[in-house]
Every structure is written in structure tokens, then in C-alpha cells.
């Protein structure tokens, strides 16, 4: 009965979405106050019903109810419970249900918490949210029903891809989805504003916390996905420019640009049409990402189903939503008053620069991700675009962004003078130059590119704190702290990337048991290779002793990489072993045994690699602090009197 209950809840939620849309439409025409009383409850109940439906599917997976087709195809009775739970969204239908649930919950959240919008814009926002939700309900119910029964039920179930049986998977997709779909709120508010004709700084202030919340989730989700790929795939890389990774990066870039231009619109009432466009692009990128991943048009471990009908459905939904919004934008943009004027050397000017650079990076990633699809569709040519393209094309823009970051946050609104700013950025500039000189002397073989990247990130780490100079720290608004911390996180993250790509060391050898090797500052010794067993796998495990090269204290740590053979489905995977130090990680992979009895070992020393993810967490933390500052009531009054301080 659980499956039927879930399905009924889903149908009811879809019906309520339709009702919500219709009632909101009526309100927009008649402005009948009585209608307002029911719109909010409808949105909230719709969210709850959808959540109930998702809870039912989760129960089915936890019970491993094999009479449900989806469970039978993606789960197995012998799986640990945490992977049964994660299995709920480790497949096409389940992950789409999660997607739609978050969409519905976003609508409910607007109904419950959004108090800053005027009545008409608010209703128009819920109308748009209901419209978008309804399309995705239809998609689930007509082409991806997660509750379909299977008769007769199999006895075991066919299991979950072992690569996906990992604790990282339990949290990575939901986090990312909260980010993706959370951007729908900014989209709905923007379209709602276009419908009601109120595009002003109040709209931007209403949109900001939602965009910020979605962006925090996106940041964490991307970082989690990157770390998952890093340790689970065993390739030692943390970003592959894989289309699925790009699909998550593109909404993040758009959301980052949006957060900055929102600040201008909320504070100075400028960049209005630009901010609206970014809000539309952000959610469009989320939908494009969903299309890329869910349509199976890219075959990768993420594409669970190769089904053209589904792809066409999502594509149609995306086109309707985005084209509709853009059409409305084109019709209404002439009525949007032009914003206030500013000098280009000003905070506004710096943010325009930030936006143009970010959008350029977005365009480059977009082109590189979709080019192979177009080449195949229209020229029948198989082309793959890989990391060399993305690195070469994006890195100049990233460097420019980092330089802009030194000065941007220090600039005053409206206009500033170059001399004042010059004095303020001199510390970070000198530090960066000194570091370049030191590195050129100490490590003369360093590629110029790595040297530049490291110097830029060190300079940025200092520059990011400059906006706090000369302020009374106790009276500084939280959003300022949020900005400072997020920018510092960028510096940490960039430093990790630069250090890892410039200074990693590799040991690739075939060794006998008992052999010792040296990598970076470590002695590694293959002590033994033993069989081992887990819940649903058996493995060959290497036991590697690691000790510091110069340390005589005989302190030994163990690295235990494995070759695992999973049952149900039968599949071999390689489990890397990691040893973390404050300044990097040792990363070991066990290869095959050669005919002469030696074992292949691949060990990397990756300096400061963990800083990439620490940096991402710091960035998200900065977002969280800003969000608290924006929503805290007591502070809000102060802020409205003195916005962005």
C-alpha cells in the first residue's frame, strides 16, 4: 500500500499545483482578497504532499519492497541500510522525485516565510512556482513514475552500482538538488516581478536570501561531488570537466554572478534588468543541467536511463519555462525604469566587471559542454572536448577575477578615486610580488603559471580581509563578515588547486612485498597483500607502511588501498587509500598483480589538496553568515536604514 499512497500523494500534489496556478491567475485579474486566504495553504499542503510521496518511496527502499519495479531494479536485500536509503535517489525516477519534492517545498517555503514582497508580486511568484512545478509533476507521473509495480516480484533485486555505494552519495545529490532547485525561487520572484511590473530594490532584497540559500547548497554539493570523484574513482583528480560536473558548475557560476548583482540592485537600485536576466539564467542552467544528466544524452555513471522520451520531455519543459520568461522579459523590459547612474570606478563598476567575467566563464563552460552534442547532431562528427580546452579558456578569466577581487570590495558605491584604492591594495600586491620572487629563487623550476596562481591566491588571502580595516568590528554588519569569509575561502580554494596541480608527485611502480620506495618526504613500504571481506564484497587489500623520510622515531602509519569485488551486481572497483596531513594528502591505489608476482602501486603526494574542499566549506560558511545577517530581524532594521553599510 505504501507505493499506492505515495502515488496518490503525488497526484494530489499535482492537482494542487494546478489549483494554485489557477487561483493565483484569478487573483491577478480580479484582486479579490478572498482568494489570498487559500493560496498560501494550497502551496504549503502541496509541499507536504510531495514530501509525503518522497517519504513513501524512501520507506519502500528501506524495506526493499521488491514488488516495486524501481526498488527491484536498483536495490538489493543484502545492502547496508544507509545505501538502501541513498538508493532512493540513486536512480532516475527517485532522483526526479527528490527534485520535484524540493521544488514543491520551495513553493511552500515562499508561502511560509516570504514577507518582503508586495501582495501582487508575491501571488505572481507563487503562480510561477506552481506553473514550473506542474510541468515537472506531469513529467514524473507520465514518463517516470517511481511507484510502478512489478508482478511477479523478484526475490533479490539487481542492486546498486558499487561506485554509488558510498557515503558520499548519501549526501551529495540531495545537497546539490537543494541548490539547483532552490534557484527556482529566484526565478519565480524575478518572473513574478515582471508579471506584476514591480522591479525595484525591494524585489532584490526579497530575492537575495533565497538565492543565497540555494548558492550555499550548490557550493557544498559541488565540493562534495568533487571529493567523491577524487577518492572514489581512484584517478587522483578532483575535477574532470566531465559534462555532469559542468552541469552543476554552470548554475553555481550564474548564481554567484546573481548574488553580486543583487547586491547592487538591493543597495543602489541599479543593474535591474541585468539582475533579472541572471535570475532567469540561474534556474535555466539548473534545468539544462537536469536535462543533460537525466536525458541520458551524456553517457556516464550519472546517466541512469537512456530514454529519448524523457529527454524530450525535460527539454520541452525547459524551453517552455525559459522561453516564456524571456518573452515576458522582452515585453516588459521597456517598462522597467532605468537604474541609478554610477561611475565605472565604483563598487557597482567592480561588480559589473565580476558579472561580465563570470558570465564569460559560464559561456565558455556552456560551449565546451554542449559543443560535442551539437557537432554530433548537426555535423555527424564525434568530438570530445576535454580538460585542455576548459583550462586554457577559463583560467585567464579566473585570474582576472582574482585580481578584481583585491580591489572590488574596497571600492565605494557610486564613485571612488584611484589613489585611495591604490593605497589600500598595496599590501596585498607587494606580498604577492614578494612571493613570486621567493618562489623564483627557491623553486626555480616551477612553471610560471603555478607561480602566478599561488601568488595571486596569497595576495587575495590578505586582500580579502582589507574591507574590515578601519571598521569598528563589533558594529560591522554580518553580511560584510560573510563577504570577507567567502572571499577568503576563494583564496584558500585557489591555493589548494594551484599547489596540487603544480607540485604533485607521483610514484608508479611494480613492487614486491617488502620493497620500500620514496615519494616526496615519505618512505613507503609494501608490507603485505591480504584478502579481506565486507558486507557485500570481498577485496584484495595492500598494507602499506608510511613513515617520514627524515623521522627516526619510527612512527608508522598504514595505507590500505583495495581492489574490491562487489556482488549484486558483480563488479570490481578500486578503493583508494588516503593519508591526510595539514599540508596535503598521500593517495594510494593498488593495481594488478603481474605475472612475476609483483604488485602495481600508484601513490601520489598531493600538496595542499584538501585546501580545495576546506576553501569551498569556508565559502559556504561565508554565505551562511551573510544569510543570517540578512534574515535576522533585529539586524534587518539597522541594515535597511543603512543597506550593505
Amino acid at each position: 500500500m505504501t507505493a499506492e499512497a505515495g502515488l496518490i500523494a503525488l497526484w494530489l500534489a499535482a492537482a494542487l499545483a494546478l489549483l494554485q496556478f489557477t487561483v493565483s491567475c484569478f487573483y491577478m485579474r480580479t484582486e479579490d482578497e478572498n482568494l489570498l486566504k487559500i493560496i498560501n495553504p494550497i502551496a504549503i499542503v502541496q509541499g507536504l504532499l510531495c514530501l509525503l510521496s518522497f517519504a513513501m518511496l524512501t520507506l519502500l527502499f528501506l524495506d526493499t519492497d521488491l514488488s516495486v519495479l524501481l526498488v527491484a531494479q536498483n536495490s538489493h536485500i543484502d545492502k547496508p541500510w544507509i545505501f538502501k536509503l541513498a538508493g532512493t535517489w540513486g536512480n532516475h525516477e527517485g532522483s526526479m522525485l527528490l527534485w520535484v519534492s524540493i521544488l514543491a517545498l520551495s513553493g511552500a517555503a515562499i508561502a511560509l516565510f516570504e514577507k518582503r514582497l508586495d501582495q501582487k508580486t508575491f501571488t505572481a511568484t507563487l503562480m510561477v512556482q506552481a506553473f514550473v512545478s506542474f510541468g515537472f509533476y506531469a513529467f514524473l507521473l507520465f514518463s517516470s513514475n517511481p511507484f510502478e509495480r512489478l508482478n511477479p516480484a523478484p526475490r533479490e533485486g539487481s542492486g546498486l552500482n558499487p561506485l554509488l555505494q558510498d557515503i558520499g552519495l548519501a549526501f551529495h545529490p540531495p545537497t546539490l538538488y537543494f541548490g539547483y532547485v532552490g534557484l527556482s525561487i529566484a526565478f519565480s520572484v524575478a518572473v513574478g516581478g515582471l508579471i506584476s511590473g514591480t522591479i525595484n530594490s525591494a524585489l532584490a532584497r526579497a530575492m537575495r536570501p533565497w538565492a543565497l540559500l540555494a548558492w550555499i547548497f550548490l557550493t557544498l554539493g559541488i565540493a562534495a561531488g568533487s571529493y567523491w570523484a577524487y577518492y572514489e574513482l581512484g584517478w587522483g583528480g578532483w575535477w574532470f570537466w566531465d559534462p555532469v560536473e559542468n552541469a552543476s558548475l554552470m548554475p553555481w557560476i550564474a548564481a554567484t554572478a546573481l548574488l553580486h548583482s543583487i547586491a547592487v540592485m538591493a543597495t543602489r537600485d541599479a543593474l535591474r534588468s541585468w539582475t533579472i536576466i541572471l535570475a532567469l539564467v540561474g534556474f535555466a542552467m539548473s534545468m539544462a543541467g537536469t536535462f543533460l544528466v537525466r536525458s541520458g544524452i551524456l553517457t556516464s555513471v550519472h546517466a541512469f536511463a537512456v530514454d529519448p522520451e524523457r529527454g524530450a520531455f525535460i527539454l520541452a519543459l525547459m524551453v517552455i519555462n525559459v522561453a516564456g520568461a524571456l518573452l515576458l522579459y522582452a515585453l516588459r523590459i521597456n517598462q522597467v525604469r532605468q537604474g541609478k547612474v554610477f561611475n565605472l570606478l565604483s563598487r557597482e563598476g567592480a561588480i559589473v566587471g565580476n558579472n561580465i567575467l563570470l558570465v564569460s566563464i559560464l559561456a565558455i563552460v556552456f560551449v565546451g559542454t554542449l559543443f560535442p552534442l551539437f557537432a554530433e547532431a548537426f555535423a555527424d562528427q564525434k568530438i570530445s572536448v576535454g580538460p585542455p580546452y576548459f583550462n586554457k579558456a577559463t583560467i585567464p578569466f579566473i585570474f582576472l577575477l582574482m585580481i578584481l577581487l583585491w580591489a572590488g570590495p574596497l571600492l565605494r558605491w557610486r564613485q571612488d578615486n584611484a589613489e585611495r584604492i591604490g593605497k589600500k591594495v598595496i599590501t596585498s600586491s607587494i606580498t604577492a610580488i614578494v612571493f613570486i620572487i621567493i618562489m623564483a629563487v627557491v623553486l626555480p623550476d616551477t612553471p610560471i603559471f603555478s607561480m602566478l596562481a599561488i601568488a595571486l591566491s596569497i595576495g587575495l588571502a590578505i586582500a580579502s580581509f582589507m574591507p574590515l580595516m578601519g571598521r569598528k568590528l563589533r558594529r560591522t554588519p554580518l553580511p560584510i563578515y560573510g563577504m570577507v569569509i567567502a572571499h577568503f575561502g576563494i583564496a584558500i580554494c585557489a591555493f589548494g588547486m594551484a599547489a596540487e596541480s603544480g607540485f604533485s608527485k607521483q610514484l608508479l611502480k611494480s613492487v614486491d612485498i617488502g620493497d620500500s620506495e620514496v615519494i616526496a618526504d615519505f618512505n613507503v613500504k609494501l608490507k603485505n597483500v591480504v584478502p579481506t571481506i565486507g558486507d557485500n564484497w570481498v577485496a584484495t587489500q595492500a598494507i602499506i607502511e608510511v613513515s617520514d623520510k627524515d623521522d627516526r622515531a619510527d612512527e608508522v602509519e598504514m595505507l590500505q588501498p583495495e581492489q574490491r569485488l562487489f556482488f549484486n551486481p558483480n563488479q570490481e572497483t578500486s578503493e583508494a587509500a588516503l593519508m591526510t596531513r595539514w599540508n596535503g594528502q598521500l593517495y594510494a591505489v593498488l593495481g594488478k598483480q603481474n605475472a612475476d608476482g609483483k604488485w602495481q602501486l600508484r601513490i601520489w603526494w598531493k600538496p595542499f589538496v584538501t585546501w580545495i574542499w576546506y576553501g569551498a566549506v569556508i565559502i559556504a560558511l561565508g554565505g551562511l553568515i551573510a544569510l543570517i545577517g540578512r534574515t535576522n530581524r533585529r539586524r534587518k532594521k539597522h541594515e535597511e536604514a543603512n543597506p550593505w553599510a
Binding site: 552500482n161 558499487p162 584517478w235 537604474g339 585567464p396 611502480k509 591505489v589 609483483k598
Partner: protein, 149 residues
């Protein structure tokens, strides 16, 4: 400056920025997009030595040979009627076996050997590298066994 002019100026700056980005993108694409080859198309066409390309096909039965260092292998990638020698140094993917589909990233060296930097085998039985989906491997039985399954 009037608001109207400011908007125009910003629009012009944005368009110029995007144009520069597109130019860089197109330039980088023409340099770095690696074309996909099978042994047959690789032998038909002149491919520049050292240019990044992808090679896809099936690992020929009995062709994998380990070199003395224990971490380098030489093997033959074949399609319907052509073959290409490939050399790879590193730990091979778990699903890399003879008779199975493979995609290799790498480049041709001056001796005509394909030097692979990276090997992609199927992730699992449901996964087929996109490029291999509709290649005629000739040996249809082996193909079914390894790729379609």
C-alpha cells in the same frame, strides 16, 4: 551621464566581454577539441603526431603484453578490420580486459604507436562510452558480450 546612456554603455561592455569570451572559446576549441578515431579512421586519415585525440575500439584478444617495468602495457585496439598498437603506463581500469570496449585519450608518437594518457573502460555493464555506442566492431559476438550487455 543619463541613465539611458549608462544602460547602453553597460550593454556594450557586456557584449564586448562576451565576444572576447566566445573568441577565446572558439580558439581553444579549434586547438584542443580532440577528435574521435577508430583504428580504421586513424589509418585512413593523416593525423598530426602529438595532437590530442581519442581512440576507441575493442581490445584484441591475446594482445595485452606487459613491459618489463611492470606498469606499462602494450595492446592492440581493433575495429572491424583494422588494428592500432597502444601503449599505456599506469594502473588499468578494473573493467579493462581483452575483448572489451575501450576509449583511450592520448596521441600518436613518431613510430605510429598510440601513447595513451588515460584509459576509459565501461564503468559497469550498463555503461558504454558514448563514442562506442554505434561503432561496428566486426566481431559481433564479442561485441554483444562486452559492450551491449
Amino acid at each position: 551621464m543619463k541613465p539611458k546612456h549608462q544602460r547602453l554603455l553597460l550593454a556594450v561592455i557586456a557584449v564586448i566581454g562576451l565576444l572576447v569570451a566566445s573568441l577565446i572559446a572558439i580558439n581553444a576549441l579549434s586547438d584542443e577539441a580532440s577528435y574521435f578515431y577508430t583504428p580504421a579512421t586513424l589509418n585512413d586519415q593523416e593525423v598530426e603526431i602529438g595532437k590530442a585525440i581519442r581512440l576507441g575500439g575493442m581490445v584484441k584478444q591475446g594482445s595485452i603484453q606487459s613491459a618489463k617495468d611492470g606498469v606499462t602495457i602494450n595492446f592492440i585496439v581493433q575495429d572491424k578490420d583494422q588494428e592500432q598498437l597502444v601503449r599505456y603506463t599506469g594502473v588499468t581500469p578494473n573493467l579493462f580486459v581483452e575483448g572489451s570496449g575501450v576509449v583511450a585519450d592520448g596521441r600518436l608518437d613518431k613510430d605510429g604507436i598510440f601513447i595513451a594518457d588515460n584509459l576509459l573502460a565501461k564503468h559497469d555493464e550498463n555503461y558504454v562510452p558514448r563514442e562506442l555506442q554505434d561503432i561496428d566492431m566486426g566481431n559481433s559476438q564479442a561485441l554483444e558480450k562486452s559492450v551491449i550487455q
